[in-house]
Amino acid sequence: MSARILVVDDDPAISEMIGIVLSGEGFDPSFAADGPAALERFREGRPDLVLLDLMLPGIDGIEVCRSIRAESGVPIIMLTAKGDPADVVDGLESGADDYVVKPFNPKELVARIRARLRPALPETGETIGIGDLVIDVVGHEVRRGGTRIPLTPLEFQLLLALAAKPNQVFTREMLLEQVWGYHYKADTRLVNVHVQRLRAKVELDPDSPRIVTTVRGVGYRAGAVG
């Protein structure tokens, strides 16, 4: 079955063109032109991935992103027209997994979509322990004691990448490559924002993290430094 992708953009030409590209790659696109329609389509269609323009009439893209994220961990890729760096951070903080800057070429878009739909998971056993957390790799679940911690697929993948090699310090670039599937992409904000989001969910005290710790000047690693 082909993956269903919800395309949210207020410009019909872009939507149609993206639709042509996605259909050509074997995806099943559906469309929404504004925020309320996007939420409606999302709820009735349960797509496998959302392509979301940040500049929308009505509810803006950030708000839509937040609403979707509140009810689902579905991968969200933002389409952003602005070159303004603050926008990207706003979008990532509202729950987007990745972003593509307009104008983009079709290969880039498809590559980003595929990376989010078929994450490359590290080869590990069935469960991994990290701190007081247990990661069920097969069941895509993270538990602390008996409580299940809800993570988005991306957050799960990020935690798993770190936990799979607890002795290794990961640079932001390594994580970009492993988790987001980027090569030579410099935007480490992706990593920073998502580590913050992950910490907010898995750490008992996000201000003094014990699960995902920062190695100053290098990157991150799982567990305490030392």
């Binding site: 993206i18 027209a81 602005k82 307009k102 104008p103 070429n105 079709p106 670039e173 480490t188």
Partner: protein, 544 residues
């Protein structure tokens, strides 16, 4: 101890340089001290001279009378005993003069014959050694002439203390006994006491005057410096961005004028800055709007063009070529738009650094990796020379990457397929990246324009990196934003070297340059044929 002294001197120096008030008061006190001392000295000298001269004149006439009286005694010796006559003469002198001087008679030197009459003296003369000059002047002056001299009269206690005195002397002819020096010495210690008192009064008065001047100048300077200090503090606040700060305007004097004109200046600054801020905001807004409005259709065009491009093999040749042209030009348009927007963001002052600790060597390697397809197409070998260990540097990695990408792209474009070497080095305060190519190089006239917008070394040249002519201008702005700069060395036929130097901490001035320009090999190759201008083997071996 010595260090303490130095530190003390240093803090004094700081106080001196740092406070107009201290300086003014100190200078006023110093100058008035000099003036008061000079005046006091003059007063004292003229008082002393006057007192002394009037006393001397009085004593001269007195001494003359005394000498006359003594001579009278000696002219009427008759048959009396000389010693008795001498005693009478002394009596006569003492009755003539007002105060009790010391009197003495000494036999004048240079006489033959026995000393019939003894030397006699009364009072302090026993302690006084009359100078040779004085006695000689008596002898030379001859009988009847009165000589005088200032002398010091040692105190009776003999502890070295002395009081001033005046000695009068005259030759007296004593019948049968020859010539004698008659000496009368007056003690002037009362005069000295008067002078001491005057001097004491002058010193006390002068000191009081100086203290008064110090206080007055302190108060006056305070009156003037106070408002100046307030103005300085206010302009300091203005400079720090608190544009609403103003000075209080009171009265009509010069200081009020200063305050008024200062406030007017601040008003105009504030309105100018507001206007500029508004302009900048509008510009930013415009850039943002244009960016969005242009990019939306461009995104569709780009997607459509790429879809066509990917299928060009299915098309007839003319349509396929059209798809290719469309694809290339859309890409060019896109780069141009991105560069234009970036440039206008710089012009609007709407850029901010987003620094993070970055390993420059790794960054350079990444960029090299990304331009490798282009380099391979051109047959250009890429090398990195990075001696030494590296700590991470706080930079905006995105911008530095863009700079390096741009420099590398240019080097490959103009490198004629010869190797391109990237040097990375650092020292305590700065880091540097230099991109060296051995290509066509630039003429001096071209070198001057290399950072100009839309300027290209050779407009007809085939551009593989799709240069917009804005690349170096943007790179220069990116470097400037970090407080660093890009400079360049180039010679026709010998290649170019673009050097980026950044301070380790953004915004710290550039204090040193870890890499040299022109590059070392440019000096070595000074005599070499341009065609041989290949990097030496040592460079390749030094590869990190």
């Amino acid at each position: 101890m010595r260090l303490d002294w130095r530190a003390w001197l240093e803090s004094l120096g700081r106080l001196w340089r740092g406070s107009l008030q201290v300086r003014t008061v100190a200078l006023t006190v110093l100058l008035s001290t000099i003036a008061v001392t000079a005046i006091g000295f003059y007063i004292l000298t003229s008082v002393r001279t006057n007192l002394f001269e009037s006393r001397r004149d009085q004593l001269v006439s007195e001494a003359e009378r005394a000498v006359l009286a003594a001579r009278d005694e000696f002219t009427n010796v008759g048959g009396r005993d000389l010693d008795a006559v001498q005693f009478d003469a002394f009596e006569a002198i003492q009755s003539t003069v007002s105060t009790g001087p010391s009197i003495g008679m000494f036999r004048a030197p240079g006489q033959s014959g026995p000393a019939v009459m003894d030397t006699l003296y009364v009072g302090a003369l026993s302690r006084i050694a009359l100078s040779d000059g004085f006695t000689r002047s008596l002898v030379d002056g001859g009988e009847g002439r009165l000589s005088w001299q200032s002398i010091a009269i040692p105190a009776e206690t003999g502890d070295g203390a002395a009081s001033p005195g005046l000695a009068f002397g005259s030759l007296v002819d004593v019948p049968q006994a020859g010539r004698y020096e008659l000496v009368i010495v007056y003690d002037l210690s009362d005069l000295q006491r008067t002078l001491d008192f005057v001097a004491g009064t002058l010193v006390a008065g002068g000191a009081a005057l100086i203290v008064l001047i110090a206080i007055v100048s302190y108060v006056v300077v305070r009156l003037v410096v106070g408002p100046v200090r307030r103005a300085a503090a206010t302009s300091e606040k203005l400079a720090a961005g608190r544009l609403e700060e103003r000075l209080a305007e009171r009265g009509d004097d010069e200081l009020a004028t200063l305050a008024r004109s200062f406030n007017r200046m601040a008003d105009s600054l504030q309105s100018q800055i507001r206007r500029l801020a508004e302009l900048s905001r509008l510009q930013q807004r415009f850039v943002s709007d244009v960016s969005h409005e242009l990019r939306t259709p461009l995104t569709t065009i780009r997607l459509a063009g790429d879809v066509l491009y990917d299928r060009r093999e299915d098309f007839p040749p003319a349509t396929a070529r059209t798809a290719e042209l469309l694809h290339d030009q859309v890409q060019r348009f896109e780069t141009l738009l991105a560069d234009l927007l970036e440039m206008s963001r710089y012009d609007a002052g709407a850029v901010e650094l987003e620094t993070e600790p970055t390993n420059l060597v790794r960054l350079v390697e990444d960029v090299m990796e990304s331009v490798r397809p282009l380099a391979e197409e051109r047959g250009t070998e890429l090398r990195i020379v990075a001696p030494g260990g590296y700590f991470e540097v706080e930079v905006d990695a995105r911008r530095i990457r863009r700079i390096v990408q741009n420099l590398l792209g240019n080097a490959i474009d103009h490198g004629e397929g010869r190797p391109v070497i990237v040097y990375v080095d650092s020292d305590a305060s700065s880091v540097a990246i230099a991109v060296r190519d051995y290509g066509v190089g630039l003429e001096p006239a071209q070198l001057e324009r290399v950072f100009d917008r839309f300027w290209r070394a050779d407009p007809s040249r085939q551009r593989r990196t799709g240069g917009t002519g804005l690349g170096l201008a943007i790179s220069q702005e990116d470097a400037g934003l970090h407080g660093g700069e890009i400079d360049v060395w180039s010679e026709p036929g010998r290649g170019s070297c673009f050097r980026l130097t950044l301070p380790r901490v953004p915004g710290d001035g550039l204090r040193s340059r870890p890499l040299d320009l022109p590059p070392d090999d440019a000096i070595e190759l000074q005599e070499a044929d341009p065609a041989d201008a290949e990097p030496s083997e040592t460079d390749a071996e030094a590869r990190a």
